[in-house]
Symmetry: C2
């Protein structure tokens, strides 16, 4: 990695640029984004220069695609990637992006990526060199042998240097797991808040629980449209599991049998807070 082009210099792309610099990356960091974003990114010192796609392809050897998922799919298909460059992305779903890469990326080296980090506010103004600190960072090799390639190891090493924890998963595994840990929670919050919108007077008894469970309901649909469209079957499976569980619980609301669900739930919640035994299998 000598010269990096960030496509989409928003919260994630901008934070990756800042994190790389803080971790000691000394090469050029170019930004490919809208003129307003480039202006903001330059004034914040997030990138060294704004350039177009063509020039980026001429000059960079590492490409970080941090746009919305459908834009990543488009730019992958529309770009003539030079042989031997490394392309990675930060999209929240991985299978369709992996398929597009297989089709479009030629002899470039592709590694799917998904940093499990974020903030309530998007945009390069909120970019933060420490955004990835302590967070899992999923890497999806095209084939298992890719993890032994020096280019894969180079990216993994940078991810460790920026403070994140690399997790190796294949794209389909990734998409199924995030349907449960990220996409279903979003839809639960959306559904609860949408129901509450119709309950007159509910705000007069709003306590901390409802504020916590409805915070995600402010998430922008633009981002979620792409995520849900590219992970529909898995999200549907995860929602079906939660709906089935809710129906089960509804049947035993007044009963001591519910104690068992509370125990299972505490165990599940605890697991989410424990570091997986092995981040890089």
């Amino acid at each position: 990695m000598r010269s990096v082009a960030i496509f989409g210099v928003g919260l994630i792309g901008g934070s990756f640029a800042l994190a790389l610099r803080k971790a000691g990356f000394a090469g050029d960091i170019f930004g490919v984004s809208s003129p307003q974003t480039i202006e903001a990114a330059l004034s914040l010192g997030v990138i060294d220069r704004g350039i177009g796609v063509e020039e980026a392809v001429d000059r960079a050897d590492f490409f970080y695609l941090a746009q919305p998922i459908l834009s990543i799919l488009q730019i992958m298909a529309a770009t003539r990637w030079p042989d031997d460059v490394v392309v990675t992305d930060a999209g929240s779903t991985k299978r369709q992006i992996a398929e597009q890469a297989a089709e479009s990326i030629g002899n470039a080296f592709f590694i799917g990526g998904h940093p499990m980090a974020g903030k309530e506010r998007a945009g390069v103004q909120n970019a933060d060199a420490d955004l990835f600190q302590g967070r899992p960072y999923v890497l999806c090799p095209r084939v298992p042998e890719d993890v032994d390639d020096p280019r894969f190891q180079d990216l993994r090493d940078w991810i460790i240097r920026i403070g994140a924890k690399p997790v190796i998963l294949n794209a389909s595994e990734h998409d199924r797991l995030v349907a449960f840990t990220s996409h279903a929670p979003q839809i639960l919050s959306t559904a609860l808040a949408s129901v509450l919108d119709g309950i007159d007077g509910a705000s007069s008894v709003a306590g901390p629980a409802v504020l916590e469970l409805t915070r995600l309901a402010f998430s922008p649909f633009g981002i979620w449209r792409d995520i849900l469209q590219t992970n529909e079957a898995n999200v549907s499976e995860a929602l079906s599991a939660v709906i089935a569980k809710l129906n089960e619980i509804k049947q035993i609301l007044g009963s001591d049998e519910l104690a068992q669900e509370f125990r299972r739930a505490a165990s599940g919640a605890q697991k989410m807070r424990e570091q997986p035994a092995k981040y890089c299998p």
Copy 2:
């Protein structure tokens, strides 16, 4: 209010005692609780003295019942309340307590209460004079005319002095609303965490969303058993509404129709964060 007896000197009862004192209450504050709790409450300066139920009934003119709901129901039925004392409670459901009061409280003056405040950790060690600051505090008069009684106004004034916002609701309205704002959120978190307990590897992609949505899953069943048993029909209604919404959303996951649900959800989430126009109707 000259002499206060707190039944159940835990997080809520202890905080009410500390808050009263901080707000300038100069009378006695007695505690009725287990010997260990009384010892802790005395050493923390939360109460002036620990006494038994009999002595409390002889000496106090204001009773604050802050035990679990089923214990409140029991103590109400088992106690011979003197005429003219004021009895209030801090139970999370109000209708069954109101019914028990009508049956057991004789000529004492009963006011249902529910402070919308809490902490992750229970117990008098976590009691806090500022726990109620800025939080809604529901008062349920037995009949609408009670709000004009000086005893009701005296309690309402103390609630304002401890920094809380009195909300007047009848017990049935209260129970229906909290089913949506408190009990359904608890069950959603329990159901999600219970499902996640069975998804191997999910913790490797656990981001902030799932941590937020599963925090309530650590709530102790002991408290929730009483709440759900005494509000079963309303919680069932609220869960049915959320389940129906989840099923609707599942049908349109890949569609732009979902934009409308995201808008409605943002509106609902916003309403939960806005101060109701009128706390005391």
